[in-house]
């Protein structure tokens, strides 16, 4: 197209200025932007219409059961798997352009590095391929960060799985990335290593580096992520901040002599799960005019008034794990209903 896009009326200076302001005020381009990604292996769809966004400096967790398509989405973003449809951008460049990956660090789920090279040589290779200048001292620092300073001259072939994964982490971090994609970064690590990874991710966030973290360890995700995207069967089942997803709080009550009226009062508050004399009641955010803070005292006051003997009141919070299971189960139920 050699001519302008829209043959409209003569230019209006004010409108042009407004438009210029519109562009100028746009937030910086996202670290990851994907829209409508699709991928099938043979006739089996692996990913269907996945759209997601990771803003600059944001740490986003990618969650989902096995086979949900998390790794496929990551590989499509990095150009390792050809998408059947949809499009994606990394750091403001379309993924069809290899330069989009210039400032991206990646730790694959299947981490293997040239076994005939030393750790130092693997780092140097990746620095060369990334096309950035990183001094050997910085590369050594990077290895030290993941705890491989002692083994930097050793052949990767002699490394344990955990050490290879640490090396992979160093490789992902070495070329001054603005976006780091970690696919199951702690699968081969001991608890100490997991803590190291957590610290590294938090450090990245503090330096404004965006992170996409795919992990099975929900606790890990919960601790470091700003936002979570949950994939199920190749689709985005839910996404949002932790508050959005875990907004529901829970209170656990130990009640004796619970009358039907007491039961009714509990049910009016939220979903009730009874185990003997213990009742777990979920408290949706901001319901019934009462603020979050008042919901529990009001409930206890009413229960006492109704004659229930309250032995214990424990605050509880829905864990991300439970929430994830809820979402996945709800999805399964909806599907089975749709099938019936």
């Amino acid at each position: 197209m050699a001519t302008g896009p829209t043959a409209g009326p003569p230019a209006d200076v004010a409108a042009r200025e407004t438009a210029a302001r519109l562009v100028a005020e746009l937030p910086p381009s996202s670290a990851i932007w994907a829209s409508g990604l699709r991928k099938s292996y043979g006739r089996r769809p692996a990913v269907e219409e996945v759209s997601l966004e990771v803003r600059r400096g944001e740490v986003v967790g990618l969650l989902g059961p096995n086979g949900a398509g998390k790794t496929t989405v990551i590989k499509m973003l990095l150009g390792l798997v050809r998408a059947d449809g949809g499009e994606a951008m990394l750091l403001g460049r379309p993924t069809t352009d290899p330069a989009a990956r210039a400032r991206v660090g990646y730790l694959p789920e299947l981490f293997r590095y040239q076994p005939w090279l030393s750790a130092t040589e693997v780092m140097a290779l990746h620095v060369r391929l990334a096309g950035v200048t990183v001094t050997p001292a910085e590369q050594r620092e990077c290895l030290a960060l993941v705890g491989l300073a002692e083994r930097s001259r050793d052949r990767v072939g002699g490394f344990s799985k955990g050490m290879q994964q640490r090396l992979g982490l160093a490789v992902a971090l070495v070329a001054r990335p603005e976006l780091v994609v970690l696919d199951e970064p702690t699968s081969a690590l001991d608890p100490l290593g997991r803590a190291d990874v957590r610290d590294i991710v938090l450090d990245l966030r503090s330096r404004g580096v965006a992170v996409l973290l795919n992990s099975h360890l929900i606790g890990e995700v919960e601790r470091v992520c700003d936002r979570v995207v949950i994939l199920d069967r190749g689709r985005v089942a839910a996404s949002g901040t932790l508050e959005d997803l875990l907004g529901r709080r829970e209170v656990r009550l130990h009640l004796v002599d619970a009358s039907p009226a007491v039961h009714a009062r509990l049910a009016a508050t939220g979903t009730v799960e009874q185990t003997g004399d213990w009742y777990a009641v979920t408290l949706p955010v901001g319901t019934g005019g009462a603020t979050d803070d008042d919901a529990v005292p009001h409930l206890v006051r009413d229960l006492v008034a109704l004659g229930a003997r309250v032995h214990a009141v424990e605050p509880g919070r829905v864990s991300l794990e439970e929430r994830l299971l809820d979402i996945l189960r709800a999805g399964a139920t909806a599907r089975s209903e749709a099938d019936a």
Binding site: M1, A2, T3, G4, P5, T6, G8, A11, D12, A15, R16, T18, A19, A20, L22, V23, A24, L26, P27, S29, S30, W33, A34, S35, G36, S51, L52, E53, R82, A83, D84, G85, G86, E87, M89, G92, R93, P94, T96, V236, S239
Partner: protein, 341 residues
């Protein structure tokens, strides 16, 4: 550079994260695109406000795609088919000799026998040839018989090169004499057979006579037990030609200038000396090297194949040709020639 299209501008308003930085920068600097953007921004969003990132499907669909839209030649099926077609075509071309794999070249074994030395060029296509003596090449019992038959000094080396053993087979050939009468009409017919027209015949050439004489000659051949010759030593009176009237060179050069002269005949003619002074052996220049050395004060021509599996040396002295040849090195044939003197 290319202006981003309407879909990109729409996306800049409703889904800015889906616009590449290069497009953003372009629009910022391009008044034309800013005008377009102003118009797009004024319109309501076609799909309502996006709720989920990337929910702006209509824009996503209408935006230019590179994925899946590979050029035709990069589709594997197309590429494989094209390759198969080219392969089949090349195979067919080779099978029909349109694309030759090997350069065919006529390889003539370097062999010298008595019959080679007492042979005359066959000029019957260009005139009348009357053979007055035909030489009678035949095997004889021993060197003494050969000497008696030819009157030549028999070249018998006292020491033989490594690998040459046994007694030689002796062949003699008597003198060969022929008279050639050039016929312009015959030459014209030969040219017509080759599909050419005859150049004008020089005055006095038609009907002129040339007498060619070669021999007698003798050849001693040592053979390997397997039958392959391992050394040939031959001596013959060098061929000569004489004429009444037009000189032999004139006749020879004219015949050589005629179209359609067979290559081997031409080579034989070119080598045919009027005075018995030049080498009567054609040397295949592409696979042998020839050099001149001095043997006993007389120049001799040494021919050696590139891989040094064959060598020959030829010396002409007082109208007598001596040839030493065989699957030997140049130094070995030279040693034999020196030994003969």
């Amino acid at each position: 550079m290319r202006h981003p299209d309407d879909a990109v501008l729409r996306r800049l308003v409703h889904e800015p994260a889906g616009v590449a930085d290069t497009d953003r920068e372009h629009v910022t600097a391009c008044p034309q695109c800013l005008d377009g953007l102003a118009i797009v921004a004024g319109r309501p969003h076609p799909g309502g406000a996006p709720t989920v990132p990337g929910a702006d499907r209509r824009d996503a669909r209408s935006a230019p795609r590179t994925r899946g839209g590979d050029p035709l030649w990069r589709r594997p099926a197309v590429a494989v088919t094209a390759f198969a077609v080219v392969l089949a075509g090349a195979g067919a071309a080779a099978a029909n000799d349109w694309l030759p794999i090997f350069r065919t070249e006529e390889v003539v074994p370097l062999e010298v026998g008595a019959d080679d030395l007492v042979d005359l060029p066959d000029l019957s296509a260009y005139g009348d040839v009357v053979v007055t003596q035909d030489g009678d090449v035949e095997a004889v019992q021993d060197a003494a018989t050969a000497a008696a038959r030819t009157g030549l000094e028999i070249p018998e080396p006292t020491t033989l090169p490594r690998g040459v053993t046994g007694e030689p087979a002796v062949q003699v050939g008597g003198e060969v004499e022929a008279t050639f009468t050039f016929s312009a009409e015959r030459a014209a017919r030969a040219a017509a057979d080759a599909g050419e027209t005859l150049p004008p015949t020089p005055a006095g050439l038609d009907g002129s006579q040339v007498r060619m004489v070669a021999g007698p000659g003798v050849a001693l051949t040592w053979s390997h037990p397997s039958g392959a010759p391992s050394l040939v030593v031959a001596r013959a009176v060098a061929p000569t030609a004489s004429s009444s009237g037009v000189s032999f060179e004139t006749v020879r050069d004219h015949v050589l200038s005629l179209p359609g002269v067979p290559e081997d005949l031409a080579a034989q003619l070119r080598a045919f000396p009027a005075d018995g002074s030049t080498l009567p052996l054609p040397v295949p220049a592409d696979r042998a090297t020839s050099s001149t050395v001095d043997v006993g004060g007389v120049p001799a021509t040494v021919v050696e194949t590139h891989d040094r599996s064959m060598a020959a040396v030829v010396q002409v002295e007082d109208g007598v040709v001596t040839v030493v040849a065989g699957p030997l090195g140049a130094d070995e044939v030279l040693a034999v020639l020196r030994d003969l003197r």
